[in-house]
Symmetry: C2
Subunit: 326 residues, 2 copies
DNA sequence: TTGTAGGCGTTATCAT
DNA sequence: ATGATAACGCCTACAA
């Protein structure tokens, strides 16, 4: 038989093939341990069973969880996952897009939130547009200036909820340890914080800028203890930072939650190790949904926006304010 | 000019090309935003600028750190990184190898240690042999029954060192919370523990089996507190487990390190969050070295074995035994 | 039902 | 110095 016939039976072609030859082919293929070249297939079909994932830092639990979600559905659906890290830089992201683009990846997932006014964003957008036109499905997992379908959770509401909870504990002098000033995620969480404070008739006690990492929290803790009167509570932009604050405070001899309450956002695994009060954010689910959005045929709304739920997760780094009777 | 000429200038061919045409081609390429198809290139050259990474669980800091190392050098060298998770199952690893194989990946890195007597290992070995014959460089980052070059650190020595340290603190009733009984890593660490105990003339106080995860440690802690006399110290197979033990003990009202000392191995980021005494293991460096081994032309010894150093990192979950005067 | 042949985008061999 | 052209491995009209 010809290679054409073989090809027809090996991939589920609708083209009719007699049962005898079909079996003959199948058998031969099995004997020879035949493996079709995905490269050749991708070349001719203009599509490779690969999904690209662009994150900021694979060692950050936030992204690890997302990656786990993406990889798990990709694997289940028979796709390979290419992951690249870009430290929230649109420039780096663009490079990765260009690196993956020639492979005709089936789907591309942007997990990191962008920077406001990142001057390379428009070039990235252009590259993405090209990809989409060539058939690649693209999705983002956080707010940012990219015109693609989105799967996310409500950062502002999450921050509002944790702040509201801390307020309900009777605290009044509440500090915010913020993330990068130009990060959408950071901005949204700050807004949620401020909104909740406003709703409670409270004024932010102090606000510190920083990054999304543990070290940033550690440093902020030092500022806090050396800035005069301690706050009643401090809310951090995420768990990494909250844990840094927690450690820094305790190192300085400050009892948590005895003297100061500390809370974070995300509920990444380490937060359980320190019994951190936080809000559980659907990171793994974000990865799942994101991968499905680009791989599943039951396509999500073309440029819809899916919102996943979060929930408050009180633990032991927060306590009722001493002045409050229960 | 012909596409042949164009091809010659676009890739660094040694074939002579006149300077005028070279410029003409370069210019045209720039105008058209020409991007060579890596697919076609890979198809004809039988090699794609991709490195495959097979780990057990991307959410485990142990592997996250390794992945970070691999991805960083891959990116720097212009390679894409495909990561797949296989929960230490040779069967799953084999599937991933088969999935990547048709892409003619340049290098393949096995990060997880294998299971002793994993019946699928020989099939995996066969698949690997095929890959190698087709030019793919393969390396493993832990001991296991795979005949490929290796980059690793000394698990047994690491376990010996931490045990020796705990002994030096004056503890005698020392418990080991072990990992999976059939994991090479687990076995080596146990041997290091036992060797150090023997050297100190001590008998292991108790030994619990489990997994490599936090939950396993948490569970073991419950067994420990409900088993009669508390040990002086407990050493865990890794940080995840050690932290679980730590939390479980404290939840049960046991003071650490006041009543019991706890130590782990690996020094993954979370261990700093709880000030865990541990031994720093070169995870990130393992990723770096592994990627270099398969991508760098200054090839490592064909099937050599590179040993990376570790170092003891005492922190605050261990203390001198009360009976010991200093 | 089965076979033929063109083409996907590049590289490399062989002429010219 | 430059240009055809086969080949990489597979898919898919189009013929037979």
């Amino acid at each position: 038989m010809s290679i054409a016939t073989a090809s027809r039976v090996l991939n589920g072609s609708t083209h009719p093939v007699s049962e005898k030859t079909r079996l003959r082919v199948l058998d031969a293929a099995a004997q020879l341990g035949y493996k079709p070249s995905l490269l050749a297939q991708a070349l001719v079909k203009g599509r490779a069973p690969i999904v690209g994932l662009i994150i900021a830092d694979i060692a950050d639990p936030y992204f690890s969880q997302i990656a786990r979600g993406v990889e798990s559905v990709a694997r289940r659906l028979g796709y390979l996952t290419i992951v690249s890290t870009a430290q929230r830089s649109a420039r780096a992201e663009l490079e990765h897009v260009q690196a993956m683009s020639p492979y005709h990846v089936t789907g591309l997932v942007f997990a990191a939130s962008g920077r406001v006014d990142d001057s390379d964003t428009h070039m990235l957008q252009a590259a993405i547009k090209d990809l989409q036109n060539s058939g690649t499905r693209v999705v983002k997992l956080a707010h940012r200036q990219l015109d693609v379908p989105t799967v996310l959770f409500d950062n502002q509401a999450a921050a509002y909820d944790i702040t509201d909870y801390v307020v309900s504990l009777g605290h009044q002098r509440i500090a915010l340890v913020d993330g990068p000033a130009d990060s959408y995620t950071s901005i949204e969480r700050r807004q949620g914080f401020e909104q909740a404070m406003r709703a409670a008739g409270l004024e932010p006690y102090m606000r510190l800028d920083g990054g999304f990492e543990y070290e940033s929290g550690l440093e902020s803790a030092h500022h806090i203890v050396s800035a005069g009167t301690l706050p009643d509570a401090v809310i951090a932009v995420n768990d990494n930072v909250a844990i840094g604050v927690l450690m820094g405070l305790r190192q300085a001899g400050v009892d948590v939650p005895g003297m100061v309450s500390v809370a974070g956002i995300d509920d990444t695994p380490p937060s359980r190790y320190v019994a951190l009060t936080t809000v559980s954010t659907p990171l793994y689910e974000l990865g799942i949904a994101g991968a499905q959005a680009v791989l599943s045929d039951l396509a999500r709304a073309r440029d819809g926006q899916t919102l996943l739920p979060h929930r408050l997760t009180p633990r032991s780094t927060t306590a009722r304010h001493p002045s409050v009777r229960r």
